[in-house]
Each structure stands twice: as structure tokens, then as C-alpha cells.
């Protein structure tokens, strides 16, 4: 059994589980370099907030020099934007590294970062466009859901109920259960539609990080085109990955709980010190888990993108030129 069969190593469309396996393998075997890029990117994202804290502390204690705010606020916003582009370029560099590994054209972290850094404004524009699209979709969904629920409410005799709330007994219990189920259904549909949109845009940053001569809006188009088929397959991949990350989150929760218990020994739970300490701790833990999980998600997205290019564009289909060498039989 299985003696001559080599699942994802030769290039072929992969199953859901093998996409996750491959992404996970990329993550674990490149753990250190990816983690370093992720850590630096996350620190860039943190920088504006670190700058903000002393500023707030300063104005809170001095309560003067408010005129400088006119200068400080724009300066801080510029810093925020610059640091965000740094973060996005760093995250994209991890995905580029993972993709390079898959296509057997590996790069050093420096090379990958140089490339993604040169497109840092593209990543910012991409994030803003996708963010705006999501905002639009969410608003439209809320409005539709609201209209739908109001209509159902009206059909089920909700108006009578509003006129005379005391007559609750008049409302048929099956109607209440049915409307409850309908609201539940609306929530499920809402979630599925949001998931569908998330999948359709999920590899846009990969296109921008990898493909030559492409801008922010084209890469959104690329993601839309590549994910046209098999949306729920990709959704499943992301779901399986999400479940794999749960142990990390459980670990974070356990550490949080333990340290919080320990802190109560140092400070009384109602004191300011306690609040400050536990808040700082939760921020640090969130950052740490973010640093650990970012490379995993980026590797996974790189494999998804690679698999889509394979399925939809036959990226793997090329007669290989081995020259004088014989084809490698084993990796």
C-alpha cells in the first residue's frame, strides 16, 4: 500500500488536509526566520501606540500646551500610517518566503522583505480598499437583515404586540419559536456571506507580494478570479487551521489566568496597579500570540494561493529542463 505514491510533493492540486499539512510544515521548518520577520513587523505596528502612551501621560499630568496638539496629531497619524505599511510589508514577506519555498525558488528574508517593502504603499491601499469593501458589505447586510427581521416581525403580528404588550399571551408560542429560528437563520446566513467575501479577498496580498508588475487593485481582481471556484474548500482550510491554533490560545488563557491569580497576591484586585498590570500583561500576551500565529496564517495563505494557481492556472505544469542532471528522485 502507498509504496509509490507521493501526495503533495509532486505538484498537484491538494486536498484540504494536505494544504493544511503543507502550510504547517512550512511554518515549523522555517520557524525561526519567519518568527523574526513577524516579531519585527509586530513591533513596528506597536510603535505608534508606544509613542502615544507617554504623550497621553504628559497631557494628563501637565494639562497645558494643548496648542501643540495641532501638530502632534497629524505627526502621530503619519507615524501610524508609516508603521502600518511596515507591518503589512513584513507580513507579506513571510507569505512570499513560504511561496518561494513551495515553488523551489527560495529567497532570504532580506530579499523577500526588500521586495515587499518596495510595494508597501500597495499593501496599505489594498488593505484600505478591502476594508472599505467589507464596511460596505457589512452595512448592506445589516440593513437587509434589519428589513428582513422587521418584516417577519410585522407578519407575525408583532404590531399588535407592540400596541398592547400586556397581551403577550395572545402571541402564539410556536410563532415565537419560529421567529427565534428565523433570527438564528439570519445570523447564520450573515456569517456565511461574510465568510464568502473573506475567502474571495483572502489571497489578494499574496498576489501583490509575489506577482510582478501588479498593483493593489489588480491584486484584488486576481484574488477574486482565483477564488471563483472552491470557496468552501478554502473556507474549510481556514477553519481547520483555526482549530489547530486553539491550543496556542488555550495556553495563552491559562498563562493569563495563572498570572492574574499571582497578581492578586501582590496588589488588591480593585487597585489601579492591578488593572494596569493585568491590562499590560494581556496586551503583551496578545502580541506574543500574534507574533507566533502570523507566520502560520501567512504560510497557510501561501499554500492556498499556490494551490489555487496550480488548480486554476496550472502553475505546476511545465516540462522541466534538467539539463545534464538526472531528475531528482528524492527531496
Amino acid at each position: 500500500m502507498a509504496a509509490s505514491f507521493d501526495p503533495p510533493d509532486p505538484l498537484q492540486p491538494m486536498t484540504v488536509g494536505n494544504v493544511v499539512n503543507t502550510g504547517f510544515k512550512l511554518y515549523t521548518s522555517n520557524f525561526k526566520p519567519y518568527l523574526k520577520v513577524a516579531a519585527i513587523a509586530t513591533l513596528w505596528a506597536l510603535l505608534p501606540w508606544l509613542v502615544l502612551l507617554p504623550l497621553i501621560a504628559f497631557f494628563a499630568t501637565v494639562q497645558d500646551y494643548y496648542s501643540t496638539l495641532g501638530l502632534l496629531i497629524p505627526a502621530w497619524l503619519v507615524l501610524l500610517i508609516l508603521c502600518s505599511t511596515r507591518y503589512l510589508a513584513g507580513a507579506a514577506a513571510i507569505a512570499r518566503l513560504a511561496f518561494g519555498e513551495l515553488t523551489q525558488q527560495p529567497e532570504t528574508p532580506q530579499q523577500a522583505q526588500r521586495f515587499t517593502h518596495s510595494r508597501k504603499w500597495g499593501f496599505l491601499i489594498l488593505t484600505i480598499i478591502v476594508g472599505l469593501i467589507f464596511l460596505g458589505v457589512t452595512l448592506a447586510m445589516y440593513i437587509l437583515a434589519a428589513i428582513f427581521i422587521v418584516a417577519i416581525f410585522a407578519i407575525m403580528g408583532g404590531v399588535d404586540f407592540l400596541r398592547n404588550p400586556a397581551s403577550a399571551a395572545l402571541v402564539n408560542p410556536t410563532l415565537i419559536v419560529t421567529s427565534g429560528l428565523i433570527v438564528l437563520m439570519v445570523i447564520v446566513v450573515f456569517t456565511l456571506i461574510m465568510a464568502w467575501f473573506s475567502v474571495r479577498f483572502s489571497v489578494a496580498d499574496l498576489s501583490l507580494a509575489i506577482e510582478p508588475g501588479i498593483g493593489a487593485s489588480q491584486s484584488i481582481g486576481r484574488s477574486w478570479e482565483l477564488t471563483r471556484k472552491g470557496v468552501w474548500r478554502i473556507f474549510l482550510i481556514l477553519m481547520v487551521t483555526g482549530i489547530i491554533t486553539i491550543p496556542v490560545q488555550v495556553l495563552v488563557q491559562i498563562v493569563m489566568g495563572l498570572v492574574q491569580e499571582a497578581t492578586t497576591l501582590l496588589f488588591p484586585p480593585s487597585s489601579t496597579n492591578f488593572v494596569v498590570f493585568t491590562t499590560a500583561l494581556s496586551v503583551v500576551l496578545a502580541l506574543l500570540s500574534g507574533i507566533f500565529l502570523l507566520p502560520l496564517w501567512q504560510s497557510m495563505k501561501a499554500v492556498i494561493y499556490y494551490d489555487l494557481r496550480t488548480r486554476r492556472e496550472g502553475l505546476d505544469l511545465e516540462l522541466r529542463d534538467w539539463g545534464d542532471r538526472t531528475p531528482p528522485t528524492d527531496a
Binding site: M1, A2, A3, F5, D6, P7, P8, D9, Q12, P13, T15, V16, G17, N18, V19, V20, N21, T22, G23, F24, K25, L26, S29, E101, E225, K229, L236, M239, V240, I243, I244, I246, P247, V250, R311, R312, E313, G314, D316, L317, E318, L319, R320, P327, A331
Partner: protein, 285 residues
């Protein structure tokens, strides 16, 4: 880099068997499917049980008498049934389908004994009994990720492995065009078809099988690129007129298959085509 872990075992006959282990992705995927099915099964079970119990209470209240012990008994039996369903689900399917459950079927994985034999009742029951421990704070997941043989506690105790199922090679014959069938018989004499390696042939077959799911521009580009590469590889000067790049690739596929399966050609239909190659538009650069 290898993206799957492997497990090699030597049989008493000194034959080495290599298994591709399922990997955490396939196992979590299978678990999601199985637990979803199990959840539906249990929901149906409890709904039926509650309806049954309500009917029973109704009936008993008409009879009169003291039946105060009945609810606790009903609950007890229900919990027992719940337990049987939960552990029976995996054992039942694993024995029925030789180590597969519906989820494992979807993920194309299978449980086998460490020596490669199909698993028996005791292994399946042990795995199933230890499942709650493996599920507790995702212990099994951690064990799978951090052990070389990807074993959860249940696998250690039962002496089992979870491996990938060899995909069935598709037997379906490719649909090839008329033009390809006409061109194919001439290719062995006109070209050095031997220069095409089995790897190259596999790529051509992959393309021909998967072309329908490619995007249109990608398919056009790829067809031209592959035709160009193949033409160089088998040293064909020009591709005949009225032959699209897809037709040409199909013809090479057919010819290679015929030569390597040692089948006879039967009658040769088409004349040599080099003289016909006059249409520039159909030429592949």
C-alpha cells in the same frame, strides 16, 4: 522539503512498505466532519428520546400510581444510549470500512495497525475509549503535532497509525480530438518521441486532464507553452496546419501511450504532414 511525514516498515518478507502519515490537517478535517455528523446524530437521538419520554409520561399519568422512579431511569438509559452512539460511531464505521469513518473517507485517510494490517475490534475500541482524553484541552492534537509518528494517546495505546489512502489513478480515457487521432500515428516516425521522459508525459497527461478547470487565459498560455516545449523536446520542426496546440498535445499523448504500451497502430491514415505546414497562424513559435 517533504511536506508529509513517512513511516517505513519492513515486513517479514523483507519488503519495505512506506506509508504517508495523515498529518494534522487531514486528521482535524476528518474530526470536524465526524463530530458534525455525530452532533446531528445525537440531536436526532435526544429529540426522539424526549418526544418518547413525553408520550410515556402522558400515558403513565392516565394509569395513575407511583411512577416517580421512571424519569431517572429514562435519563439513565438515554445517557447510556448517548455513550453507545458516541463510541459506537467510530468503532462501527472503522470496522465496516476497514479503518475509515465518513470524515476519514472525505479526508482520504485510514487507521491501520503499526504493522500495516487492518485494525481489529480491540484497536478500534481502545482508540474510541481514549478519545475523550485526547479531546481534553486538545491533548491529542499536541501529541500528533509533536510526535514523529503523529500518534495521539489512543494510537499509542492501541498501536495504530493513521495514514493517507492511495488515490485511485483515474482510469478514464481522455477525450481527444479528431485531429489528434489523425496526427498521433505519424509522430513516432517523424519525431524522437523517446526524448519525452515519463515525467514529461505525466505533465502532459496532467494538463489534458485538468485543462477544463483552468481559467481561459491561463489555459491558452499554458497550452501554447507546453506545445512549444514538447515540440522542442521531441524535435519536431513544425506543427501541421489546422492543428491547435491542444490537438498537438493530445496527439503526443496518444502516440506516447501507444508506443509505450506496445500497441499496434492499425492502418495509418494521415499522410506525412510536413508539406502541409503552410498556415502561419497555426504555427507554434
Amino acid at each position: 522539503m517533504r511536506y508529509t511525514n513517512r513511516h517505513t516498515l519492513s515486513t517479514p518478507e523483507s519488503v519495505e512498505l512506506e506509508y504517508h502519515l495523515a498529518g494534522v490537517g487531514n486528521r482535524v478535517f476528518a474530526l470536524i466532519v465526524d463530530y458534525s455528523l455525530l452532533l446531528i446524530l445525537l440531536l436526532v437521538y435526544w429529540t426522539i428520546w424526549v418526544l418518547f419520554a413525553l408520550q410515556l409520561f402522558n400515558y403513565l399519568s392516565q394509569l395513575g400510581g407511583d411512577y416517580s422512579a421512571v424519569p431517572i431511569w429514562l435519563l439513565g438509559i438515554a445517557i447510556l444510549g448517548n455513550f453507545v452512539l458516541y463510541s459506537g460511531y467510530f468503532v462501527f464505521f472503522e470496522l465496516l470500512w476497514r479503518g475509515q469513518t465518513p470524515g476519514k473517507r472525505m479526508a482520504k485517510i485510514r487507521v491501520v495497525r503499526e504493522d500495516g494490517r487492518p485494525l481489529g475490534v480491540s484497536q478500534s475500541v481502545l482508540r474510541s475509549r481514549l478519545r475523550p482524553i485526547d479531546d481534553f484541552i486538545f491533548l491529542g492534537l499536541l501529541f500528533i503535532v509533536f510526535s514523529k509518528q503523529e500518534k495521539r494517546i489512543g494510537d499509542w495505546v492501541a498501536g495504530t497509525l493513521v495514514v493517507q489512502v492511495e488515490p485511485q489513478a483515474s482510469k478514464a480515457q481522455l477525450q481527444c480530438s479528431e485531429a489528434a487521432h489523425r496526427l498521433a500515428p505519424d509522430l513516432p516516425s517523424l519525431t524522437t518521441l523517446d526524448a519525452l521522459s515519463p515525467d514529461d508525459f505525466a505533465i502532459l497527461r496532467e494538463y489534458l486532464t485538468r485543462r477544463a478547470s483552468l481559467t481561459r487565459p491561463a489555459r491558452q498560455d499554458l497550452s501554447m507553452k507546453l506545445a512549444h516545449q514538447t515540440r522542442q523536446r521531441i524535435q519536431l520542426e513544425t506543427i501541421p496546419a489546422d492543428t491547435s496546440s491542444d490537438d498537438f498535445l493530445e496527439a503526443v499523448y496518444l502516440a506516447y501511450q501507444q508506443v509505450h504500451q506496445g500497441l499496434s497502430w492499425g492502418e495509418r491514415i494521415a499522410p506525412p504532414f510536413q508539406n502541409q505546414a503552410n498556415s502561419e497562424s497555426e504555427r507554434i513559435p
